[in-house]
């Protein structure tokens, strides 16, 4: 600890604290420009100069640490005049076109000039001008380099946090302008974080161009509803029209960062395609109806089914709030007496159950900052840089300041690979085998210490040749992964939801975790989800085998696949689908469509008329995330608030209100009046939520906690070794097709936002560099991807680091229905890639 005197006030701070931070905590304000708390230190602007008594030269407080006994002056006459002179230097070449500049009103240069700056300038020279008109740098950025003050915050955030490294500076000294090295369109992540950190109006948002002054905006702090990272963001609107989304440095785990989806994926809120009234099918077409008519039709449909003892099922999206998901399962289980419910349509219901157990989700939340405070981090089952961009930023940021071995196991290459100590490129769907391989190496090396390891028998029967051929990964790499782990004191294993796409050998994770714990390592498990409330959905019990709080159900329920199978046999009387486009998402689009045709009464509740909604008997219009109250639980187990800010469009209603109305139509005692009230009931049903206060949740929310833990849970351990036959290469169809979310898109909602559509709206196919060479195609070329039942023409993207033989098509686009390549029960489809010279585009059934 160091005791220092700042402007005569004595305070004690940690050793190594920056003078800037010490002064701030003592209540003094020091202006800064180039400094940014979470970026590397540059100390170039010198507006933060302070006087250290006894030293002749003034020192930049943003890089100078305190020393015991130091006496610092931040307001002495020398400091004041030097500071004002430095600000004057910044202004010397600044165009001072504030009235036109979009940053006016929230500009850091305006603010410090007003507070600390000169009132008059001696500089009379002509100002430097790089260009007359602002120029477009990317689909999201417009730049005015004349206003740049060379703080390089943009360059630093892009390289250090986003990992894109596309911004650089040209020239030096007074002639420096921040721009891409060449002044051309940026092909970057389009995250807009450079705009967010730019202190002046040099990098500006194109979508917010000349829309409003900040003081005319009304905003709400809420949570991003795209991926499981759960970023806090602020939605701002003028006169009810949402104009932008910003991130705040002091809010949320993401601080000032967001990804393209979070920052630009909002305009679906004001989309004219939104459903604004309920609809009922009359004579083959969906006709607008009133709520009373729709609810009456639903009541008739459901009571009829109940009377005849028919099957009722429900599928809700994992993008609904906890309150809605809880109410949905309550409606299904209590009012409609069915266990046939599921969240989402892409996951294997059994794999989900195993996942929740082996990932120890019932033990409560683990903060990402705790999880990343580790010696070794294994990321598996997720293209994390694309699916959870801000989680990727956090890993990159934290790994710069501390030694952390990052191991990435994935079939696709990703941006985070460049921060990794080791990458394991493996065959798609071989995550379980990779884990069993690592466990085997650990076991071999420490057999004496692992006598009590449960699951060691199947482990022993694993041969290195078998694993190598199953995973397509070099055994040496699997060995080094194990070595990294055994030489670490703490290991974090981040597992993404790709392992849920089919039956996986995930039980081996239990063996690995057990082995590491027996070896005395601290092990943390960190789930990674591509849907914002995936964890909440399971915790609310929207799963055929799990009740709220992960308690087991009594009955036998069907998951999504089971429900569709029952439907295809004509056994499903009523199916209530909320927010999920099954026809487009279920891996076998043809089967899903045929099955849903045989559902006797299909109710779909959504914001848009999706492919699934088009088949419904009754369509109910739901609300967007800024139009309702509620909570989300992110992948960490952090509960964050969703806040109502705008009234729902037209006659649309918050989804929980609709579920409550549907319930009340069938059973009048099903009575819920507010999201807060439902949350009160959640606390009873899922004790992990007991300590969370709905009303006072703010900033970064609160982690759920394990409560009343009795003994250890019954955990699944593998009974036999992996016996998946090594995929025999089929010369006709040499590629394996995998799917997932594209960096700019998430699910099917983001394609309804104009900015994200501007960035990318046509489906792409990603292939490895090696394959591209073999096929003699490059980025932007068209290829035909041919499966056994479907083929599509797509634009090639080349991923330098992907495994050979893997083809990736994002599941977000409407022009190509990637789920049509799949055949239920047959795992990942095999495809052929044929180069094409023509320009035609789109998918078609063969």
């Amino acid at each position: 600890m160091a005791t220092v005197k700042i402007n005569g006030k004595e305070i004690t701070v940690e050793d190594g604290t920056l003078i800037l931070d010490a002064a701030t905590s003592a209540g003094f304000e020091i202006p800064t420009m180039c400094f940014h708390a979470r970026l590397s230190k540059l100390a170039s602007c010198r507006v933060c100069l302070v006087e250290i008594v006894g030293q002749k030269k003034l020192q930049p407080s943003c890089v100078t640490p305190v020393m015991h006994g130091m006496e610092v002056l931040t307001e002495s006459p020398v400091v004041k005049s030097a500071r004002s002179a430095m600000i004057d230097l910044l202004l010397a070449n600044h165009p001072l076109d504030c009235p036109v500049c979009d940053k006016g009103g929230e500009c850091e240069l305006q603010d410090i000039t007003f507070k600390f700056g000169p009132r008059k300038s001696p500089f009379g020279e002509e100002k430097r001008r790089f260009h007359e008109e602002d120029y477009i740098l990317s689909p999201v950025i417009i730049q005015n380099a004349n206003r740049c003050i060379q703080c390089k915050r943009c360059v630093r955030i892009c390289a250090e946090t986003v990992g894109a490294e596309v911004l650089g500076s040209i020239d030096r000294g007074a002639g420096t302008g921040e721009t891409s090295f060449v002044k051309e369109y940026l092909d970057c992540d389009h995250c807009g974080n450079c705009i967010e950190v730019c202190p002046v109006g040099s990098l500006m948002s194109r979508s917010f161009r000349y829309k409003s002054r900040p003081w005319d905006l009304k905003g709400v702090d809420t949570v991003c509803t795209y991926c499981g990272t759960g970023c806090q963001l602020t939605v701002q609107a003028r006169n009810g029209e949402v104009l932008r989304v910003i991130s705040k440095p002091d809010k949320g785990i993401n601080h000032e960062t967001l990804c393209a989806r979070g920052r630009y994926g909002y305009s679906f809120i004001n989309s004219h395609e939104r459903l604004v009234t309920p609809m009922i099918r009359k004579g083959g077409t969906l006709e607008p109806a009133t709520w009373d008519e729709a609810l009456k039709a639903i009541k008739e449909g459901i009571t009829g089914a109940i009377r005849n003892g028919g099957k009722i099922g429900g599928i809700a999206s994992s993008r609904l709030s906890n309150e809605e998901l809880y109410l949905f399962q309550r409606l299904m289980r209590v009012v409609l007496k069915t266990n046939h419910i599921d969240s989402g349509s892409r996951w294997n219901t059994g794999a989900v159950k195993t996942f929740t157990e082996v990932m120890e989700l019932s033990r409560g939340g683990v903060s990402i900052y705790d999880a990343l405070n580790t010696d070794t981090l294994l990321v598996i089952g997720s293209s994390i840089s694309d699916e959870n961009p801000v989680t990727d930023y956090m890993i990159r940021r934290l790994s710069q300041n501390k030694k952390m071995n990052i191991i990435i196991a994935s079939p696709r290459g990703m941006k985070l690979d460049s921060s990794a100590a080791l990458t394991l490129r493996h065959r798609p769907a071989a995550e379980g085998e990779i884990i069993s391989g690592i466990s085997r190496v650990l076991y071999d090396k420490n057999a004496d210490k692992l006598n009590d390891l449960s699951g060691k028998e199947p482990l022993k029967s694993i041969s290195k040749e078998n694993i190598s051929s199953l995973t397509g990964t070099d055994w040496g790499r699997i060995e080094s992964a194990a070595n990294f782990m055994s030489s670490s004191n703490s290991v974090t294993i981040a597992v993404g939801n790709d392992v849920l796409r089919g039956p996986s050998r995930l039980e081996f994770l239990n063996v690995l975790v057990g082995a590491l714990r027996l070896l005395g390592k601290e092990v943390k498990l960190f789930p990674v989800f591509d849907r914002a409330n995936q964890r909440g959905a399971w915790e609310m019990g929207v799963h055929p085998a799990m009740m709220p709080g992960y308690s087991a159900t009594a009955g036998n329920g069907l998951g999504c696949e089971g429900i569709l199978e029952a439907s295809s046999r004509g056994e499903m009387d009523v199916l209530y689908v909320i927010g999920e486009d099954i026809v487009s998402d279920f891996p076998d689009g043809r089967f899903a469509e045929e099955a849903l045709h045989r559902v006797k009464f299909l109710i779909v509740q959504d914001m848009f008329l999706t492919e699934t909604a088009k088949m419904a008997g009754v369509v109910l219009p739901g609300a967007s995330f800024v139009e309702k109250d509620g909570t989300f639980t992110n992948q960490e187990g952090r509960v964050q608030r969703l806040r109502r800010f705008l009234p729902p469009q037209g006659d649309a209603k918050a989804d929980w209100e609709i579920i409550a109305a549907v319930g009340a139509a069938v059973d009048p005692s099903f009575n819920y009046g507010s999201a807060a009230g439902i949350f009160g009931e959640i606390k009873e049903a899922a004790p992990m939520y007991r300590e969370i206060a709905f009303e006072s949740l703010d900033g970064s929310g609160a982690l759920i906690k394990e409560t009343n833990r009795k003994g250890t849970d019954l955990k699944s351990v593998p009974s036999v070794a992996s016996q998946m036959p090594a995929a025999s290469p089929d010369p006709d169809y040499p590629f394996v097709l995998i799917t997932g979310n594209h960096l700019y898109h998430s699910g099917r909602l983001s394609l309804r936002t104009d900015i994200l559509r501007d960035i990318l709206s046509e489906a792409i196919v990603e292939i490895s560099e090696e394959d591209a060479k073999d096929l003699k195609v490059g980025k932007g070329d068209k290829v035909v991807v041919k499966g056994e039942r479907y083929e599509a023409t797509l634009t090639v993207h080349v991923n330098k680091r992907s495994a050979k033989g893997v083809v990736f098509i994002p599941e977000n686009f409407t022009d190509v229905r990637v789920n049509m390549f799949f055949t239920k029960g047959e795992g990942l489809p095999r495809v052929r890639v044929l180069p094409l010279t023509g320009k035609s585009h789109g998918g078609g059934i063969k």
Binding site: P99, V100, R209, R213, R238
Partner: protein, 191 residues
């Protein structure tokens, strides 16, 4: 006078007999009857043009090249104590303004305005001026919500005109009501 108060006052008597006070009074009246008229024949024949410093109806101005000076910076809106101005900016690449930022909407609710002139002071481009139009009575509320287009139309009194004079005028009627139309060429001072 006090000394003579109780004495006989011949002077006073003569004044009364010959109506001296009355004649003196009437003389003033007659004097005005034949001197220069100072009554302003407003609104039928004449109207008062205020000085430049007057704070009347707002005008939005253009520069010499005819480009809109307003850049939609919203500062006037921010500075207005009664919040009667609404400015919504937009991007414009047609070159109709002095910058590529122009006002998409510029509206004022005159019913709330107290003509304090703070908006004019805040305007960085001198686009906004409080002009010399003061006949603001109207028959409907709607007439008092003025838009950019109406404010961009030049006012009857040009900005350069010194003011502080009475000018010839004529009472005109049109669909918006009664209007006094000044003729700046025939002026007179009222003193």
């Amino acid at each position: 006078m006090n000394r003579n108060h109780y004495n006989f006052d011949l002077n006073g008597l003569l004044k009364k007999v010959f109506f001296v006070d009355l004649i003196q009074g009437l003389f003033i009246t007659f004097h005005y009857t034949f001197s220069k008229t100072i009554t302003m024949k407003y609104p039928d024949e004449e109207t008062w043009i205020p000085y430049k410093r007057f704070r009347g109806l707002h005008t939005l101005n253009k520069n010499k090249e005819g480009k809109e000076l307003c850049v939609g910076c919203e500062l006037c809106q921010k500075s207005c104590p009664t919040q009667c101005i609404t400015v919504v900016p937009m991007q414009d690449t047609t070159g109709k303004g002095i910058a590529d930022r122009v006002a998409y909407r510029w509206e004022i609710n005159l019913l709330r305005c107290m003509f304090c002139g703070l908006c004019e002071d805040a305007c960085p481009t001198e686009a906004l001026k409080l002009g010399r139009e003061y006949e603001l009575a109207g028959t409907s509320m709607q007439r008092h919500l003025l838009t950019k287009e109406e404010l961009l139309a030049p006012q009857a009194v040009p900005a350069e005109f010194e003011g502080g004079v009475i000018v010839k005028a004529r009472l005109g009627t049109d669909e918006t009501g009664i209007k006094v139309v000044p003729d700046m060429s025939v002026q007179k001072r009222w003193w």
